[in-house]
């Protein structure tokens, strides 16, 4: 048996006591198996909250255990061994994964739905007695509450104690839940989130495509976007045709022009500049050009004096430099 701290020894005394209630034994189990770090993170767990939720959900004790220590795995069946590993993982999760936090939260949300599904199945018989009239209202109320809970859950994902308090709240109105809403809820919420994402992107695209303010509705917007993309692609093709006819004029050495223009025209450093220095080296530019011309920000505005082959590029860079 693990002897971890003063609380654990007390628990052991409890365990050895003959006339211990089931509840106290479970609590002793809980105290016994959690790491001390778990307590230090959220001191309220050790206090009344455990009593609260253990008491109110005495029937579903194993399920609720799994519930509190869920952090994103799909393990629903719980043994005390599970609890230790999961509580250990709690700390791990706190340190880090900001990117995966939303993912974890989403998974947890789904987990919660699944948990509630199971508990609903357990308590089905109790609910059949309730009148059907209240089912609808209960469903809607429950959905709203679930939404709020999901929101709260997102905000305080890494906060252990708040999770436990939410558990106790949740177990309160598991009883009033109707059965029919359950199967579709997790899906419908995910669907709604997905649809919101898509509509948000649509709005962004609406700003991008000119002349799309009046059009509402996804289908019309999609058509407009497609037309715009097609017109842009056609423009590229048309311009490349024009370039093909004009390009015999580019019969001087582009490399020289390029190098000179790089030095003289101001160029900004950009995030995607990993490639160009390599490319410039590969295509045979002198190395000092690569170092000085590209990396340094040359404040010289003046373009190299125009001999004939270069003058056409003056226009180019002056128009681009703006």
């Amino acid at each position: 048996m693990m002897m971890m701290n003063g609380e654990a020894t007390e628990a052991e005394l409890f365990l050895n006591c003959a006339d211990m209630s089931v509840l106290e034994r479970q609590r002793a189990h809980l105290n016994h198996h959690h790491y001390p770090g778990f307590f230090s993170n959220s001191s309220t767990i050790n206090g009344g909250d455990i009593d609260g939720f253990l008491a109110s959900a005495g029937l579903d004790l194993p399920a609720v255990y799994g519930y509190t220590t869920v952090h994103g795995d799909a393990r629903i069946s719980v043994t005390p061994g599970n609890i230790t590993t999961e509580s250990g993982n709690f700390k791990k999760r706190k340190f880090g994964c900001v990117e995966t936090e939303t993912k974890v939260c989403n998974e947890k949300k789904k987990m919660m739905m699944m948990m509630m599904n199971r508990e609903a199945a357990v308590e089905e018989e109790e609910e059949e007695e309730k009148s059907k009239v209240t089912e609808q209202s209960n469903k809607s109320i429950m959905m709203m509450k679930m939404k709020n809970k999901a929101k709260k859950e997102q905000n305080s994902c890494s906060n252990d104690s708040s999770k436990v308090t939410k558990d106790s709240q949740r177990t309160d109105y598991i009883h009033v839940r109707a059965r029919r809403g359950q199967a579709t809820d997790s899906h419908s919420i995910a669907e709604r989130a997905r649809r919101e994402k898509i509509s948000e992107r649509m709005k962004f695209l609406q700003d991008l495509v000119p002349g799309c303010d009046k059009i509402t509705g996804k289908a019309g917007m999609l058509d407009e976007i497609i037309n715009y993309v097609q017109s842009l692609q056609r423009q590229v093709e048309f311009l490349s045709m024009k370039l093909a006819t004009v390009s015999p004029r580019l019969d001087f050495n582009i490399d020289d022009i390029f190098a000179k223009e790089v030095v003289s025209a101001p160029m900004t450093n950009l995030p995607n500049t990993v490639m160009p220095p390599h490319m410039m080296v590969n295509s045979g530019y002198p190395h000092e050009m690569v170092d000085s011309g590209y990396v340094h920000f040359n404040p010289m505005q003046q373009v190299v004096a125009s001999s004939d082959p270069l003058s056409c590029f003056n226009n180019l860079y002056s128009s681009l430099g703006v």
Binding site: T102, N106, I225, V236, S240
Partner: protein
């Protein structure tokens, strides 16, 4: 209520970068002997220039961070019988692909238009389209300036 997404990032580099890449690819084209000789038909040259435009756009704007640019570069490399190697992406790969099957008919025309659009989820498709539109318009501006500069003489 939706999960708090980070704001969509569709930053596109300045015109200079596009110009640099495009001119570079043009100069590479120049170096091919087949391009300069008069027996190269105009059609072929047009095609080559167009392909150079797209590839340079992909490199300038997306690099390997964007799905459409990766698909474009892969397609171009396949035509040349070369192999493109991409470094592993930092973001989590599309483990959501199973939800793609739910309504792939939703934006089918758009998927056909966008390079690499067939494999994306709808919301990702929208994001890529926005970036693609920005890059395309930038590329068009660059090419227009080039043509004007050359023909104004």
């Amino acid at each position: 209520m939706a999960s708090a997404d980070k704001p969509i990032n569709t930053d596109v580099p300045e015109k200079d970068v596009f110009a640099l890449h495009f001119l570079q690819s043009l100069s590479n084209l120049r170096r091919q002997n087949a391009f300069n000789s008069p027996d190269d038909t105009t059609n072929n040259r047009v095609k080559k220039i167009k392909k150079a435009a797209y590839v340079s756009m992909a490199r300038a704007a997306g690099g390997t961070n964007r799905l459409w640019s990766r698909a474009l570069l892969r397609r171009a490399a396949k035509e040349n019988n070369k192999v493109v190697i991409f470094s592993r992406r930092k973001k989590r790969v599309t483990w959501l692909r199973r939800s793609n099957r739910r309504d792939p008919v939703d934006a089918e025309r758009l998927r056909n238009l966008l390079p690499g659009g067939g494999a994306m989820e709808t919301s990702k498709l929208m994001e890529e389209t926005a970036h693609y539109i920005k890059c395309l318009s930038m590329q068009v501006k660059v090419m227009q300036c080039l043509v004007d500069g050359l023909s104004a003489k």
